[in-house]
Amino acid sequence: MAENPQKAARPRPLSPFVTIYRWPVTMATSFTHRVTGIGLAFGSAVLAWWLVSIASGPEAYNTFNMVAASWIGQIALFGFAWSLAYHLLNGIRHLAWDTGYGFNVKTADATGWLVIILSVLLAIGVFAYVYLGHGGAGV
């Protein structure tokens, strides 16, 4: 590639990038959908580990439970819980868009905030349900 002789003299103007834009909520929710999706991919390996530990007997299952109950395990599980809640709710929002609903800018902004708030409430709700002693009894 030939060198541009003007390159050193004057840098070419650049398009604004994510670090420049004020993030609209629709952009943030789109980005977060991808990030939570990738996070859940790692979560699938944890799910496989949980199932293998159940299939392998009490010792393996206790090891899993010890890791899951540790503070780092609890942070990871809360991350997975919120990611699942978010990806599920925002996924429903995407399916609505795919069928032609909710494309109005105001509607898309409102459903974006709704997804963010509801996903946090759901994740906290699930953890509250478990911490208040409703988990562990079997269904």
């Binding site: 991808r34 799910l47 199932l51 159940i54 299939a55 599920l88 996924g91 478990v130 079997g138 269904v139």
Partner: protein, 131 residues
Amino acid sequence: MTMETPLHRVEGLGPAHSGVKHFWRQRMTAAAMVPLAIWFAWSVASLAGASEAQVLFYLTRSAFNIPLNAILMGAFIVIALYHMVLGIQVVIDDYVHHSGGKIFLMLLTRAFALAVAAVSIFALFRIAGPV
């Protein structure tokens, strides 16, 4: 006037040569995940901190003469992983512009999905399969 050849039109595959296959499969797996994810979240929240015997009871319990929860768990994992492969493919297509890197990451994603699916299904068979 169209520049499209008649053959290209009847093939219906468009400029990406894959038609709506990827789009459609991603939406169908997404729709299937809605009830399965709700079932899954409710199940694991109820089983958090449970003894091994309680988890085994839940997964092997018979409903309609089949271990329904184990089957739903298998369906959840397989459909979730398929949905994951389709979703990560979009991310790779968007951000990885080197074709070698693209192929490598797609193979890695699929290998990961197959490994997690194989291990999970094997575990489910040991838990709830015919003895």
